[in-house]
Subunit: 500 residues, 2 copies
């Protein structure tokens, strides 16, 4: 025995994303980097879509500079990022040239480990990014989004792991964004992957703490052979966040498994964030404690609060339970996509529309795209009757190819536009920032030179913003009113959703 379990520290990315609406400023992370660097983590997750978005939207911080700073301050650590496959850090599919350039630049600026997932678990949406990572020589981690449905089973997840390994993944991540992964399936899936793909296959397990059961799931995953697990330092853990790093270290004592983590340094990291966290009190999630109702609805906590906010805007906050029941129907009809950005918002919004206007009387453009295959393929086949409705409403046919195969190179156009923006420095990084966040980047580039703003002094704010599907098919926090064109037969009406 005596096997070492590797640990990925989440506090610099998913920790504050889950607990403090991704608002933590770089200035509050810099002082503790040297302790994190020396604590013995396998990797330090520090970059992803929401942190990139928050940097330019709220913090006036250049996310590429944040990455370079982490590289400098964490010289002995593997830096890790979460990458939305063909969506990169944005909300739409990018053509392969953009994907390649993004990965090259992320690696060149210091990224070591790329955790690549797709919201629909469609491996075709993961392949391009993974191959780009491999060309840079960095670590490409193929990712399975864990979900529960009549279509999903241990076998289907193991099948996907096998596909990801065949694509050249250096490791597999089992990613449980909604805290639905119970101990027995955690054990069975990890064991299944090891048996199918070989015991040497590295398996990493990422869980959230929301339902209160997942620390036990991590233990079972470790017993099944998981090589690494994700945790967040205790002062930035639990609730919608993650299991506490120190608890993992302690609970393994005497089991024959151990982490290599330095408890003295962990205590310093804990104390640092315990001191920093209260400054961000207004961004704290309302979801604290344990929410096991998620197991029955299978709807992630953040998605419920978004739907609740949409319903309240329409003056029908009392119909939440109807909508929650409708989510199950919509998800089934759409072929059981996992519920994670952006599928969670697409399914949730359609469920709201079904309840308010009658089932599929009104279909959002995004939901039609989902049903018609424009986000990729789901494990189940969408209801054929629904495909027919979607075809009529969207006035286009279903596809079976990889969605990005329909895209043509738009790099020159993106470059030209980005280079025309005030404040741009002519770098490829700036073009990528613009490509991923075309609505936010122009303002950010203009104000970049004035340096970071203090998020704790933001006016208004409070809690995680609700997120809406934008008309361009992307997603955005609802900070200003968002309008949808709603087609009913031949008539079009506009529905506007505003911040609560």
């Amino acid at each position: 025995m005596g096997r070492t379990v590797d640990v990925t520290e989440l506090v610099l990315r998913d920790g504050h994303q889950s607990l403090l609406a991704t608002r933590m400023a770089m200035a509050d992370m810099v002082p503790i980097c040297s302790e994190i660097d020396a604590a013995g983590y396998w990797s330090v997750e520090c970059w992803g879509g929401a942190t990139f978005d928050a940097c330019i939207r709220f913090l006036n911080e250049d996310p590429w500079q944040r990455l370079r700073t982490f590289r400098e301050l964490l010289p002995d650590s593997r830096l890790q990022m979460l990458l939305r496959g063909q969506n990169l850090l944005g909300y739409r599919h990018y053509e392969d040239g953009v994907v390649n350039r993004f990965v090259e630049k992320a690696a060149a600026n210091g990224m070591d480990v790329f955790r690549v997932f797709d919201a629909l678990n469609d491996p075709r949406n993961i392949r391009q990014a993974l191959e780009a990572v491999k060309r840079t020589g960095r670590h490409g981690q193929g990712t399975i989004c864990y979900t529960i449905s009549p279509m999903h089973s241990v076998a289907t997840f193991v099948d996907m792991a096998e596909q990801l390994m065949e694509m050249g993944s250096d490791s597999i991540c089992l990613k449980d964004m909604a805290a639905l992964l119970k101990p027995q399936p955690a054990y069975d899936i990890v064991r299944g992957i090891k048996q199918r793909c070989g015991e040497q296959t590295r398996v990493h397990v990422h869980v959230h703490a929301t339902t209160g059961v997942t620390l036990v799931s991590l233990m079972k995953a470790i017993e099944a052979g998981a090589d690494a697990v994700d945790t967040s330092i205790s002062s930035m853990s639990l609730g919608p966040g993650h299991n506490p790093t120190e608890a993992l270290v302690e609970l393994l004592e005497g089991t024959g498994y151990e982490t290599r983590l330095d408890k003295t340094r962990l205590l310093k990291i804990k104390k640092h964030f315990a001191k920093v966290r209260p400054r961000y009190a207004k961004f704290e999630s309302d979801l604290i404690g344990v929410e096991t109702e998620i197991f029955d609805s299978q709807i992630p906590g953040g998605m419920i609060s978004n739907m609740e906010s949409q319903l309240k805007q329409q003056g029908v906050g009392d119909r939440l339970h109807e909508v929650m029941a409708e989510v199950s129907v919509v998800r089934r009809d759409a072929g059981y996509p996992p519920l994670v950005t952006p599928s969670s918002q697409i399914v949730g919004t359609q469920a709201v529309f079904n309840v308010l206007m009658g089932r599929y009387q009104v279909m959002t453009g995004e939901f039609a795209d989902l049903v018609l295959g424009y986000y990729g393929s789901t494990l189940g086949r969408p209801d054929p009757a629904l495909i027919e409705v979607a075809e009529k409403q969207a006035k286009k046919g279903p596809i079976t190819c990889r969605p990005a195969d329909l895209l043509v190179s738009d790099w020159d156009e993106l470059s030209a536009t980005a280079h025309g923006l005030k404040g741009n420095d002519g770098s490829v990084e700036d073009v990528l920032t613009y490509a991923m966040f075309p609505q936010v980047a122009p303002k950010f580039l203009t104000s970049r030179a004035s340096g970071p703003t203090d998020p704790t002094e933001e006016s208004g704010g409070g809690n995680s913003p609700a997120v809406a599907v934008r008309r361009d098919g992307g997603l955005a926090p609802i900070t200003t009113p968002v309008s949808y064109d709603v087609r009913i037969g031949d008539r079009t009406r506009q529905v506007t959703v505003s911040p609560a």
Copy 2:
């Protein structure tokens, strides 16, 4: 497989004791009793020393009436209490006649399951109460206080379990009041008890959540054969409290173990306490989140805050770390008692004195008594040099007999005094209330007729009170200044500790 795991619900006793300073009024528990009664628990813990104390000290509620009300509202449930062995619900040793009368009256008023422990794990302090329980035909649960020291091992705990079973225990409780029980020892001790005492021996496991690891410990205990575990409904769980009931139910899915609990009722119970809890905000513990430092100091969280409060009163709050280190020394010198009421306060106060006045230059009367055997025997032998110092200071010799053997019957005297108190109703219950809380009972009996006060309208308050060792050898929350006579050689000085 398919084994049923029994569950004891803690919310009516230890849940609010740990999270809300034991302040929950009966009026906030009554409305949810019918759901609790039908939810499928093996037992409902609802009575103990602190709840009894809080009833008469803060709530102007008759604790015996509370018990009778629970009996009436939970007709299909086993009611369970925590009993401090020969100390009953008070802080000193009582002679056997008082112990017998207390147990008889508790059973007569409706108690079913008596969990009997001793702070020093001295089985001689448990025997009388356990035998009294057996005579009533109720369930007597012999209890092991889990602690960590160089003297304690899986074997010593299993030895104790064997002794408790030989005394006639109906089941064994492994009680981890400080959240120190890690998964592997949880497994090993439960397995050891089953192997030594027989697989049919019922083992119950009680843990707190403070260190964040103990839900995994419960899982391992279950795998080792534990018959029952203790949890608290999720809206009254975690932090210094317990693991959430619903999380236990969910995490067992697919493991071959299952609870019999009704999830629909659990959700109602959760919602009830989620609604009630905010009213008690001023009593919430400061200790939220996860505190793994406890594993290094082995000092329970509540004990640290008490010591901190004592030090601040003396204007030396900055010496807490010295005192924490000194606790280890004092505990070793005293023969490694578990740190639980009252040994935690006795050891903690002596550590404070050692740091402030030099090691053992001043010895509290209670610490001298501990060292001399007047609380019972510890697993380790106290330092002989220390016994000598204690003998000189206390002007009495060490004992090796059961402490209660030195006591003579004082029932007639207690009865006479109690029956002379204004407001007493002549019942044996009132005599017992007076016997256990001689300083608080007179005022309570006088005001009893005016009925319960609303604890949420108490003036002042806030958080758990610090607890001090009283001059009569008992313990009390520091709500008014408490004075100690401190002997240094021939001189006596008075030290006064007041609420922070």
